[in-house]
């Protein structure tokens, strides 16, 4: 059965079961990836995934059931199971099925160029090997391309479709010095025909070579600049603090703080669902997406809401309902969430800080931090900054602190905004940030 037939079967089962309020959320994603290593294409993968989530309201409670199996038996099963699941719900918040917004911003279709993925992967690999004799054949380039379709249909009359494409290339360079090896990667989340292979190879190889002879630093309090990618990673991990769902469940310290100063005056956070090339016309409930300022020059403006959390707070949704996967229940997440860049180039920041650490990599973000407490303690790497100049590579350190304190202590925000890899429905971006002083453990 294709989705149209499955949708009909589900709808019939739902009506037979006496359900009057229900919704189907369908996604179909295709992705192709090729990988080059040792001078040839070593891996090639092609994935198609189509899934459907049925949810229904029974006695004021919402139950979910999702499947990838589009058969008549499964249609009947998911309807019955979702109703059973609804009956198990104990929370008594109002539940919603959205009828539709007045208007939706139209999103330009982005035709994908017919870039030869294998040739691109081999080119990235080849340029990396050519960049330096220490580069190893275990260096690996990945090129991927995919499309996704989302369809949202419900008994309130909603019927929305959105299509998007995703293209990315990455290169992991491995270099050797004697018995030791070092590696570094670059990631390009952009149309494949725009990938500058020369620059990407130079950057990946350069980063790996910088790591040769890297050393730790003495433990203590250090002035720290986070490079844009590192700060975007940190921000991605802490973005749940802006969720009204987290706040209302007692899992965010920003609860009730609208109007308060929670960050330095140079800090402005924006969520922009219409960032060119990465547009989302509606959220996971079908509410029309819109741009919003979450923190304005340090002052906290608004949490991010979906319909349920907005109703609890007695206000309008911000259109941030999220479905990180077709089978997930509706949560809250931003779309393109970023720290607004400032005027200073990274070099200007290095000169301003004088002496300190530039953190370019953070690891253990899934474990060494806690958005409920704000605390973080993360393995890190980067460069010494001495006399305003970027110096030798630093590894074997941790950087620790509390994110809420860090936001207040930010000294300056750079001009080099860069977005990280997608996380669920979100892409998070940041420029380089002079973050004040943080605890560093090393030697």
């Amino acid at each position: 059965m294709d989705f149209e037939q499955f949708q009909q079967a589900v709808t019939e089962c739902a009506r037979s079961a006496g359900l009057t309020r229900f919704e189907l959320y369908y996604t179909r994603e295709t992705a192709r990836t090729v990988s080059a290593m040792e001078g040839e294409i070593t891996e090639c993968s092609d994935d198609t995934q189509a899934g459907c989530c049925f949810r229904c309201i029974v006695n004021g409670r919402m139950g979910y059931c999702a499947t990838e199996l589009f058969t008549p038996e499964e249609a009947a099963r998911i309807v019955a199971k979702a109703a059973e699941n609804a009956a198990t719900i104990e929370k008594d918040d109002p539940v919603f099925l959205f009828a539709g917004s007045e208007e939706y911003k139209s999103v330009p279709g982005a035709p994908i160029a017919e870039t030869d993925m294998r040739a691109l992967a081999l080119e990235l690999y080849g340029k990396a090997l050519a960049a330096d004799e220490r580069v190893q054949p275990s260096t690996q380039a990945y090129v991927s391309r995919g499309q996704s379709v989302i369809r949202l249909v419900n008994s309130a009359g909603l019927d929305l479709t959105a299509e998007s494409t995703r293209q990315a290339a990455s290169l992991w360079a491995v270099v050797r010095r004697g018995e030791e090896q070092f590696n570094a990667g670059v990631f390009r989340d952009e149309p494949l025909e725009q990938v500058d292979t020369e620059a990407a190879a130079a950057q990946a190889v350069g980063k790996a070579i910088d790591k040769i002879g890297g050393e730790s630093v003495p433990s203590g309090t250090w002035p720290v600049i986070f490079h844009n990618e590192a700060f975007a990673d940190l921000l991605t991990a802490f973005v749940p603090i802006f969720s009204a769902k987290s706040a209302q469940q007692g899992l965010s310290l920003l609860a009730g703080k609208e109007g308060e100063t929670i960050a330095a005056a140079c800090v402005t956070f924006i969520d922009d669902p219409f960032r060119p090339g990465y547009e989302t016309p509606f959220d996971g409930e079908g509410v029309a997406a819109r741009v919003k300022t979450v923190v304005d020059k340090g002052v906290f403006q608004t949490l991010l809401y979906n319909l349920e959390t907005a109703a609890r707070a007695g206000r309008e949704t911000t259109g941030n309902a999220s479905r990180p996967a077709y089978y997930a229940s509706v949560g809250v997440a931003p779309f393109n969430f970023y720290l607004q860049p400032g005027e200073a180039s990274p070099d200007t920041l290095y000169r301003a800080i004088g002496d300190g650490l530039l953190i370019t990599e953070l690891a253990g973000l899934h474990a060494g931090l806690n958005s409920v407490t704000g605390d973080f303690s993360l393995m890190a790497a980067g460069y010494r900054i001495e006399n305003g100049q970027k110096g030798r590579f630093v590894n074997g350190i941790t950087v620790s602190g509390n994110f809420f304190a860090l936001l207040k202590n930010i000294r300056a925000v750079g001009s080099d905004l860069r977005f990280g890899a997608p996380m669920g429905v979100s892409r998070i971006g940041a420029p380089s940030v002079w973050a004040g002083e943080l605890s560093v453990a090393g030697q």
Binding site: E40, C44, S45, D46, D47, C65, E90, S138, A367, S439
Partner: protein
């Protein structure tokens, strides 16, 4: 069932016609359940059917993988033809003769969780929630989740193997938040087994809630851990994450086979202190990381990785075995049919030693006792790893002293393994989810109490 022997044989034949020297069909139907209780009420009940097929072709060390959730005849044929086209020219498709094999099931399941009434599952969550809340008035929030999997897999390959397996898992995950109005701290406890609802005959949900809550309250009143290099005693159970990150991943063919591991070429060499013997055992009955067979259809085994400090074995999957010219060890695993399998851990642990727990602590003039750990990560190329301590205590003059808030411990695997200078007698394991190129899979980590003479502690 559309995937009968005739269909499977046809799909494999299409794969081989491309010039591949090996073809495999992996089919999966998994029912995954998640029930969430927070604030004393069940707030979310979701259910998901994962259903699809992954077709893999190998030619030498080149691999092609095509996966689809479209299980119609045309969808399956399209998938096989796409894989064949990516590998080479589709030539004459010859059938493959399959011979069905049934492996012994050493993980009996008494009550499959997806068949248990929602009310039974909700009852477990309420017990956990109430247990946590009863610990202290400072507990501000408790989230309890019941996760279940009923995973049905089928593997057919061009060597003629046809086999199936059913894998049922259940896990209770509790997080408690303690608050004093200005600060939050949290604690968690998440036991699971390759088992059904009988998990709760062995595990008391209220006790799980209490454990999470006690950790949160202790941490609310704790100071921050200091920063710097120090001696650390790491408690048993999830303390095994240190071995998982410092060594385990770097022994997977995933990294070793392509020369991207700190432990390449070191079989037979000393890579750890003599006190360290470490094992990966996928056969422990009903353990979280166990399976009868891996996702390539090979029986799992108990494998000695390190014996008294000497590297004895790598973890080898089929593709890795081609590169490394070694026998596969039954460790080819994947999250689901969207992923190609690769070598992964199962139940990994440092074997019990002979040092006395009391003596281990008494031996420390100054250091950290890491009681409860969180996850971590590693770069196998350099061996740089990290893992989180969620609940720690300072040790002063040989005695456990004040609690301290979490810090990340970091090091280089090759160095830290040499620094393990005490290994206690009482082994315990704990459950985690491990991420790698073939997705997120359930694993156990374990060890007795151990002492690491020197490691960097990322406090403040």
């Amino acid at each position: 069932m559309i995937l009968d022997q005739t269909m499977l044989s046809e799909l494999l034949g299409i794969g081989l016609s491309s010039g591949a020297d090996f073809a495999e069909v992996f089919a999966e139907n998994t029912r995954q359940g998640l029930m969430t209780l927070i604030g004393g009420k069940v707030e979310d009940v979701t259910d998901r059917t994962i259903s699809g097929v992954g077709i893999r072709l190998l030619r030498g060390v080149r691999s092609v993988y095509a996966s689809t959730s479209d299980l119609t005849r045309s969808g399956l044929l399209r998938c096989a033809r796409e894989a064949a086209a990516a590998m080479g020219e589709a030539g004459e498709a010859a059938g493959v003769v399959l011979s069905e094999r049934i492996f012994p099931n050493i993980h009996p399941i008494r009550r499959v969780t997806s068949g248990a009434a929602n009310a039974d599952q909700a009852a477990v969550l309420h017990l956990a929630y109430d247990g946590a809340g009863a610990v202290s008035g400072e507990i501000a929030q408790v989230q309890a989740r019941l996760l279940s999997w009923d995973r049905n897999i089928l593997i057919a390959n061009s060597e003629g193997l046809l086999t199936e397996d059913r894998q049922v898992r259940t896990r209770l995950a509790v997080t408690a938040v303690a608050s004093d109005g200005a600060q939050n701290q949290s604690g968690s406890c998440s036991p699971g087994m390759h088992a059904g609802m009988e998990l709760f005959d062995a595990v008391d949900p209220a006790a799980v809630g209490r454990k999470a809550a006690r950790q949160a309250v202790t941490m609310l009143h704790a100071g921050y851990c200091p920063a710097g290099k120090m001696t650390v005693a790491i408690e048993n159970g999830f303390g095994g994450v240190i071995f998982h990150e410092a060594c385990g991943h770097s022994l997977e063919a995933t990294s070793v086979a392509t020369g991207r591991s700190q432990f390449c070429g070191k079989l037979g060499q000393v890579i750890a202190s003599e006190k360290v013997t470490a094992i990966d055992d996928g056969t422990q009955p009903n353990a979280w990381g166990s399976n009868n067979i891996d996702d390539e259809g090979r029986p799992t085994q108990r494998l000695t990785l390190i014996e008294k400090g000497v590297l004895k074995n790598y973890l080898v999957d089929r593709l890795g075995s081609r590169r490394m010219d070694m026998e596969p060890t039954g460790c080819g695993r994947r999250e689901d049919y969207h992923f190609e399998p690769t070598s992964r851990m199962s139940n990994t642990y440092i074997a019990p030693g002979s040092d006395d727990n009391g003596e281990i602590i008494a031996s420390m003039e100054y250091g950290l006792y890491a009681k409860s750990m969180g996850g971590g990560s590693v770069n196998p190329v350099t061996g740089e790893f990290n893992f989180a301590v969620n609940e720690g205590y300072m040790v002063r003059n040989g005695a456990i002293a004040e609690p301290v808030r979490g810090a990340t411990l970091i090091g280089k695997g090759s160095e830290i393994l040499m620094n393990i200078d005490r290994v206690g007698t009482c082994l315990d394991s704990a459950q985690g989810m491990c991420g790698s190129s073939s997705g997120s899979i359930p694993v156990n980590v374990g060890q007795p109490l151990i002492r690491v003479s020197s490691i960097t502690v990322g406090g403040r």
